[in-house]
Symmetry: none
Subunit: 405 residues, 2 copies
């Protein structure tokens, strides 16, 4: 990424404008042969989006790089204007955010699995027979009640689905440069926790003590008598979003992972339950307090992941039906896009570019009559990297000064 | 180029898919005023390409950079997904590949000219009066018969056209960091071979001994009594294509240079003679053994270089007529593009982007009705660097995993 985008701070100005970034998760699609070769956006009835498209600029955004399918981490890193090839959110941190744990600076998070080992300490099942989520909750509670602190380090545990849970170590002088203890296949003992630098040696020592205590407690469990850890990581050091762009930033998201990612970047992240309607209510109620609003709508991605074309169409139509509510706030700049594509044909994230609509009196030339991948492909904004979206938004909000004399 | 494209290996998965990259050499063109302002692709009757375009994604590919006209080396380096600004194939190596010499690891190749020197050792003609190719062949044979080995280094010579030939040194401990001996203008003596590091000093010593012996043999030649050498180079160290992408890779090419370049990258390169029809027969006969097929069709480029618009149109139509043969193999991903443009109006390679067609059920949105530069300019794939084509092909073959969590 060019220096200028990395140093936007030098160009940033303040004004009264309001910017809204609507992330319709997994928005982009590809033609589905069972539905007339249309994409979900093409099949959906979207009168409000279409009307908005006629007065907005359109384009296609490459989340990370051509052909690269991003996870949610890189997808959002890019949308927030950071380089997804350089800034990495570790697996442990993402898992912790995903189960709703708050991370403080210096915390080390790891993904944990319950597993089964035999009398010789050999792992015979890396997933402890995929024990039920309730069983996992019971075991994690039992561990947490007995193990709260080791040396000067707090141990925080939270259950996930089935055999999965998350461990966070909170204390001073911890590093995250540790090898996984998970051997990744059955028939081997777990690896010893091993720190690869001095602060990580402390982490490894705490982890060893934790595993000793924990496996003593689990000793009589028929399946979940061992623990495997991987993805040790700390929150990345980064310039916070509000400082970088000179804005007061609010994230409106229901799912813990997206709230967590936004919190990492320094967004305020109040809780909200329900659905998109409740999210928009929150947006409205905090409208005066912030300059930049990140609104995350998850359901499109879930429908895409399920391969449910018609459900994804429905979700898009639901978003469309609530769009007037957002517009009624009169944002100066409004962007509607996705963090990555999730075509229902592929039942998962994909590498395809995200359609993007940028609405602003100063956005440029409207070229389309609908908001679809096809119209975006020939849009005024062209094909551009997602990490450049923030500079386009700030510019359209007249919040970026001149570069050079 | 971002880290992610350089480390595709970390994302690569294997499956049963078949990928075909058809390089129609010099495919792209620009409007020719003598032919109704059409490009060769626009003037050609291409029913098969057009039908395929209607179910494929289109775009324009920048071989190296905007305004940069690539040689065949950088053109193919980019198509294979490597960075043409970083990876360089030396002039000597390219010349050796061009005359069909096989290079082994550590070989040093140089381009050689027969030249004329006077009694004082001053070069009076750098091209020895452009002696006939047959004369060149006779002289090279004479030299090769007398000089086969110097110290422990094998000397391999092969004639080219007119005054040109290629010298390859094969032995241990040779470097390629040598200054050219060719003074680049008449009126000067050749430079002494000089190695700029320790292994290249050995090369320089062998070259000096070779030149002494050779010029002794050429002493009585009226014109070709001296030899000038340039472009000393070894095959670049590179991660081979099959390892990088986890594929078994076959190159189908008639011309030695393209076979040679593909061999450098680790493709299997069986011999094939005749024309495109024979190439496609080879493709078919080896279909089961490989995952990735690079098919090179040269004639379009030759016609463009000759400035022969109608001949280039004919070559495109010939390719079109055989396209059904390729399609009958049912590739999962098929790309048709060029390594660079060769507009007949310019009688040579040019900097113009290459039209690209990517056919795959998962490629994205078809936008065109014909396969022309004009339709590609507004295609779903946009304008993208040629080095990103491989990640798009692998993604469309569902051979790339997710980046980041």
């Amino acid at each position: 990424m060019g220096n200028v985008l990395n140093n936007l701070k030098d160009l940033v100005k303040s004004n009264e404008s309001k910017m809204v970034l609507c992330v319709v998760d997994g928005l982009g699609g590809i033609p589905h042969p069972d539905f007339g070769g249309k994409t979900e956006l093409e099949a959906a009835r979207t009168p409000n989006l279409d009307a908005l498209a006629r007065k907005s600029t359109l384009g296609l955004m490459i989340p990370v790089h051509y052909g690269i399918t991003p996870g949610s981490g890189p997808g959002h890193i890019a949308l927030f204007g950071y380089d997804p090839e350089e800034l990495v959110i570790g697996r442990g941190v993402l898992e912790a955010l995903g189960v709703g744990m708050e991370l403080k600076e210096g915390d080390v998070a790891a993904r944990a699995n319950f597993a089964t080992k035999n009398a010789e300490g050999i792992i015979t099942d890396r997933r402890a027979g995929r024990i039920a989520t309730e069983e996992c909750q019971r075991l994690v509670q039992k561990l947490q009640e007995s193990i709260r602190i080791i040396e000067d380090v707090e141990i925080l545990l939270k259950p996930g689905k089935e055999h999965r849970f998350v461990m966070v170590l909170r204390g001073s002088g911890l590093g995250d440069n540790l090898k996984d203890t998970d051997p990744q296949k059955e028939g081997f003992p777990p690896y010893e926790p091993k720190g690869l630098d001095v602060p990580s040696e402390k982490t490894a020592r705490i982890v060893r003590k934790f595993l000793e205590k924990a496996e003593e407690i689990l000793r009589h469990e028929p399946k979940a008598n061992a623990i495997l850890l991987r993805g040790f990581s700390q929150s990345p050091a980064l310039e916070k979003f509000p400082e970088r762009y000179g804005v007061r930033a609010l994230a409106v998201a229901i799912y813990p992972m997206y709230k967590g990612i936004a919190r990492l970047f320094g967004f305020d992240t109040p809780d909200v339950e329900g659905d998109l309607r409740n999210e928009i209510e929150l947006l409205r109620s905090r409208w005066k307090e912030y300059d930049f609003f990140f609104l995350h709508y998850k359901d499109t991605d879930k429908a895409g992941e399920d391969g449910n074309f018609l459900r994804k169409v429905e979700c898009i139509e639901y978003f469309d039906s609530l769009l007037p509510e957002i517009l009624s706030l009169s944002p100066d700049v409004l962007v509607i896009t996705g963090d990555h594509a999730t075509p229902s044909l592929l039942k998962g994230h994909s590498w395809h570019p995200s359609p993007v609509l940028l609405y602003s009196p100063y956005g440029g030339i409207p070229t389309g009559t609908r908001f679809t991948e096809r119209e975006c492909a020939t849009g005024y904004l062209g094909h551009f990297p997602a990490k450049a979206l923030m500079s386009l938004m700030l510019a359209s909000a007249l919040r970026l000064g001149k570069f050079g004399a």
